[in-house]
């Protein structure tokens, strides 16, 4: 519990529902945004009203949905592919020394390279189509997830492994009944990290060339100085990231509620 002020006002504030604060905080944010757009910065910084108009316009024409769909498809495609491959690779690395010794140095090395650095390489190799974008997103989120899941596998409490052995568990049982459930919270953390990496990379990939997508929408609008559309794009990306993260948090609460210390 946080330290509660003992004053009357403090107690009143404590009684207010958290949702109320959420609304207040949101309105304050809008207000700041509005104020900023009314200053000199407003030339670049379109205000909430203009942005909302742009939203209605783009949504009506169906273009916005098209952009969102294209971007989501790439993110989720690259991310899902990365997850499906990261889980077995991470478990193999955690479980077999040989695998760990051979693979880990490469992963640690590649992980330090920002994905933006190899976007040109991928585009030259695969063109500007969908596969190039999915490849870049895949690589970025794979590297983040494999490291995080692998750490989870390595961090499984050895006493739990010992406890299962003396109850008669063989290697196979330990893998399925101890290692996997014990690293489950790390898998969920990996999902969140991987998703955020996928989003970051998506925009970078789309900015360098795409027919459609939120990144492309921002890029094109900036050429024509349509700042309200640029900001609309940024806000949409934020909302998508926020919602996906909330979804994963919800999953975590549902599936890993047994955890002693919550990683939230």
């Amino acid at each position: 519990m946080d330290n509660k002020p003992a004053t009357r006002v403090g107690q009143m504030i404590d009684r207010i529902d958290g949702k109320v604060f959420l609304v207040v905080s949101f309105l304050l944010g809008l207000l700041v945004w509005q104020l900023v757009s009314m200053t000199k910065a407003g030339a670049v910084f379109a205000g909430p009203v203009d942005t909302f108009d742009a939203f209605i316009q783009e949504a009506k024409s169906g273009r916005l949905l098209e952009h969102i769909y294209a971007s989501l498809f790439r993110v989720l495609g690259g991310f899902a592919l990365a997850l499906v491959i990261a889980i077995p690779v991470a478990f193999l690395m955690g479980w077999y020394r040989v695998c760990r010794m051979l693979v880990e140095p490469w992963i640690q090395f590649l992980r330090t390279i920002p994905p933006i650095a190899y976007i040109p390489l991928v585009i030259v190799a695969q063109g500007v189509g969908e596969s190039a974008k999915i490849t870049v997103i895949f690589v970025a989120s794979f590297l983040v997830m494999v490291v995080s899941i692998y750490q989870g596998v390595r961090n499984v409490d050895v006493t739990l492994i010992k406890a299962s052995r003396v109850l008669g568990a063989k290697d196979r049982d330990i893998f399925f009944h101890v290692i996997i459930p014990a690293s489950f919270p790390f898998i969920l953390v990996a999902l969140r990290l991987g998703l955020s990496a996928a989003l970051t990379t998506l925009i970078a990939a789309e900015l360098t060339g795409a027919q459609v997508g939120l990144g492309q929408m921002i890029q094109e609008a900036s050429l024509y100085f349509r700042m309200e559309i640029v900001i609309l794009g940024i806000v949409m990306i934020g909302i998508i990231g926020f919602l996906l993260d909330k979804l994963l948090l919800f999953l975590e609460r549902r599936l890993a509620g047994w955890q002693e210390v919550r990683s939230v």
Partner: protein, 279 residues
């Protein structure tokens, strides 16, 4: 002190007969354990031998770092000795088995399983059918007084309750030998006393051979058929003290003179080792 010298059977005498158990359950035969570390070799156990009779309750006391846990790990099959061997019913052991249950100091419950699922873990591995599994688990959960918590997760339990679950889980697979590594070390005095009495009751009912490590001399005297005192590192057995207090042992036993004499004798042996360890 003359009296105590008589009661205490030192290692030299222990090997000569009279206190040698007739039906040896566990034979620890010249165990030596050396750990290779970055700072060189650490001799954790040096030429340790001990014979444990069927249904005996052995308590092991000794200064920190003298190799008690190392010995327990070897008995459990979780660790292999550098030389020497452990035989159970005359057969030497290789690797862990559900015949030798362990209760760890840190509880070691599976946090993603409920109390019932924890207790059923070993039974499931033995492919025991659902109905039977359920009834065995129920029996032991009830015997440790956690019937109302069968569906709780470990994080919802107190330390004492967690250790009760760990004990129930160990008993459920019906091991011949029960190894306990300072199981009550992290508990408050009251809970500790309660669990000691419960463990003694269970031991009297189930008749299992127990190997119990503790820092608490009083606990050792209350529980043990024999107390093994280990010397400072490199660990070896310094003395074996038979505890011939009658069962059932109760709070009154703790008040009695023989109990306190034994406690003092063992305490001075341990204290001597503690001083040596500091040197």
């Amino acid at each position: 002190m003359a009296g105590s010298a008589q009661r205490i059977v030192t290692l030299g005498q222990a090997n000569q007969g009279q206190s040698e158990p007739e039906h040896a359950k566990v034979e620890i035969d010249a165990i030596r354990k050396v750990f290779q570390t970055s700072r060189g070799e650490v001799v954790a156990l040096h030429d340790t031998s001990l014979t444990i009779a069927n249904n005996e309750f052995i308590c092991v006391v000794g200064p920190s770092g003298c190799g008690k846990t190392t010995l327990l790990n070897i008995l459990a099959g979780l660790d292999a000795p550098t030389s020497g061997e452990v035989r159970i019913d005359g057969t030497s052991i290789h690797g862990p088995s559900s015949e030798r249950g362990v209760v760890f100091q840190q509880y070691a419950l599976f946090p993603w399983l409920t109390v019932r699922q924890n207790v059923e873990f070993g039974l499931k591995l033995k492919s025991i059918g659902k109905g039977e599994r359920r009834s065995i688990a129920e029996k032991y959960i009830e015997s440790v007084g956690l019937k109302d918590f069968a569906n709780a997760f470990p994080k919802e339990l107190s330390g004492g309750m967690k250790q009760r679950v760990a004990i129930a889980r160990a008993y459920a697979v019906n091991p011949q030998l029960l190894l306990l590594d300072e199981p009550f070390g992290a508990l408050d005095a009251q809970t500790r006393t309660q669990l000691q009495v419960e463990l003694l009751n269970t031991w009297e009912q189930e008749q299992k051979t127990c190997f119990f490590i503790t820092h608490d001399v009083e606990e050792a005297v209350l529980l043990a058929s024999r107390v093994v005192v280990m010397s400072a590192r490199p660990g070896r057995i310094k003395a074996i003290v038979p505890i011939d207090l009658k069962h059932p042992r109760t709070q009154e036993t703790r008040m009695s003179k023989p109990f306190n004499d034994l406690k003092n004798d063992i305490w001075s042996l341990v204290y001597q080792e503690y001083l040596d360890a500091k040197k």
